[in-house]
Symmetry: C2
DNA sequence: TATTTTTGATAAATCCTTTTAGCAAGATTC
DNA sequence: GAATCTTGCTAAAAGGATTTATCAAAAATA
């Protein structure tokens, strides 16, 4: 019953003036459009009185801009993505944008279907962690002049804005850290994935090992359903077969968690028996005894750059060729006591 | 340049027929509206050919339904809320709904401002973890006939649908578990908050203690900025002052994490020196050595009920008085070896 | 043959804005 | 006094759909 919203038409009728006038006043164009100050004040007062707010839907339809950004990630419940979600939210709202989220599970079909749905919704922009085989879909978006910003990983084959971190460099540093602390046999535990950030982490590890004349030892777990698969026991088997390992570099924090379980079962001591370092820092690494060294991705900077880039792309008038490519440095947290050497 | 989308008008013009006819066919009303099968097929084929999809914006404007649900929680980066977000997402999308999220930080002003913004956006429904002092705002929403579903906590003073868990009962059970295992001095560590779920947890603890003739010992931390505040050291001080404690019940998992740090600093052994249990289960509790007992909220059921309720409210035609009030049981995971007694 | 029914479609209103083009009255200019 | 400018405001189109009311032609009935 209170459901009927007042529209601009109601305002106009009540005051006995035209819709146009009300609209001009609402949009701050009273001066420019030569509406008398007297009338302007009267209308503004009335609007405040009845608490009128223009329908965003109608505005979007008319203006062709919905002020909605899609945040499409692999899994919104993942701590990393959820944290970014939280941080971009504030910045988006501050600029009048809303965020719709969705998770792809890294499934290209799902991602494509989602993107299709959103095109129809006339969203303005997409922040995407691309799944494999998404080149053509992203290209389509760009051709249709949506604002598109990739993050976490990018697509080398297409010219699209992105915000990523220095995966290779940080992996190199982390591996070097292990080497400097006396590790000779360092295992790299990762997942089978052709995601570029995982490839880069492997590259960084490989380069550090090769530069120091050490033999690489890479263990790859299948990408999907890690926990159901018993990743922990798989890692345990790997560690048993490779008992000479004195250092382990985990490519992601969830792998490290599984690895910690395995190490615990094997009664391996950290750092005495084996030195660890993990990509993706996590609160738990400082809670765990002993603390675990890790590479922290700069969440705040990532979020900041994401919104900065997105706003730039959104405000682009088509005259310039928008380009926003950012690679951010990570922070390596060394958590062994500083004088620890093997 | 590819930006111009085809509209229903374009379709009609291209085929030399009226918009109405196209619309009827699009909405599966061809039969009902006596459009010849021949024409129907022709139109359907053409639509597929040009890949036309109706504008959701225009539909929303016309129909007064946007198919958008707002998911307003305290903090979307919190693992609990992020997990729920992930689970309701699937169910929502399956039913043609999209989800916009936002975080209130439990700040009433922020929550009110957000709700105001969303009203304008003509969203259809709200899933809300209410902040304090939100009664009147929620009431307004109900009066304006939005679908509103509270969760995690509810507002006793107003008649609004909700999905919550059995906080008091589970807290009672967890405390009883500690008592049964020989604890005599059980501390309850919680935050200063008048959120009903926190009050209920305290009630459950209190009731268990009183029923067993034990003396209560409650420690309340300020609600805001727990980590900056050095919650861990505050808890440590509390534990030192109350060295007789042989059991601790943490009201939330983040309190437990801080508590674990404190216990570690004090070199307290678990479960030998002190037995623990925490509300809100977490992956870490099984990773941590020893495993920590905890009360698991049934995420899957919560999400399921949330969407079930939301869809019910959304499809409500106003004839019946919609009412969806669900209280779900939790699962207490005992993780001490089963024969452990103090 | 005249009338009624059925068939197959459509015109136009509506949802709520924004914005272009224009109009009447008063003020200036020559 | 006639022509031009300003001022203050508005009509109407557009944006893309849905839906009610209507209509002409063909078919059925009387």
């Amino acid at each position: 019953m209170a459901k009927k919203k007042t529209s601009i038409k109601d305002i106009a009728k009540s005051l006995g003036i035209s819709i146009t006038t009300v609209s001009f006043i609402l949009n701050g164009k009273a001066k420019e459009k030569r509406i008398s100050e007297e009338l302007t004040l009267k209308v503004e007062e009335y609007i405040k009185e009845v608490g009128y707010k223009p329908s965003h839907l109608a505005q979007s339809l008319r203006l062709g801009k919905s002020k909605v950004i899609v945040f499409m990630v692999e899994d919104i419940s993942n701590q990393f993505f959820a944290s970014i979600a939280r941080k971009i939210e504030e910045k988006a709202y501050k600029n009048g944008y809303k965020i719709i989220y969705c998770s792809t599970d890294n499934d290209p079909e799902k991602a494509k279907a989602l993107i299709d749905t959103f095109k129809v919704r006339s969203v303005d922009g997409f922040i995407i962690t691309p799944t494999p085989a998404l080149e053509s879909t992203v290209l389509e978006l760009l051709e249709e002049e949506f604002a598109v910003l990739l993050f976490d990983r990018w697509i080398p084959s297409i010219d699209c804005s992105y915000v990523v971190v220095e995966n290779e460099k940080s992996a190199f540093e982390a591996t070097s850290h292990l080497i400097q602390n006396g590790c000779k046999n360092i295992g790299f535990i990762t997942v089978e994935s052709d995601q570029i950030q995982m490839i880069d982490r492997l590259k960084g590890y490989s380069y550090a090992m090769e530069s120091n004349g050490l033999k690489k030892n890479v263990f790859m777990l299948p990408f999907h359903n890690l926990s159901e698969l018993g990743a922990s026991s798989k890692i345990q088997q790997y560690l048993q077969k490779n008992s000479e390992l004195d250092g382990i570099f985990f490519a992601t924090n969830y792998l490290a968690f599984e690895g910690l379980q395995a190490l615990n079962s094997l009664k391996k001591r950290i750092p005495e028996d084996v030195l660890l370092v993990s990509f993706d820092d996590h609160y738990f690494f400082t809670l765990f005894q002993p603390n675990i060294s890790a590479i922290e991705q700069p969440l705040e900077s990532i979020a900041e750059k994401l919104m900065e880039g997105m706003l730039m792309l959104l405000e682009d008038d088509g005259s310039s060729k928008p380009d926003f490519k950012v690679t951010l440095p990570n922070i390596l947290h060394i958590r062994e006591s500083s004088d620890y050497k093997k």
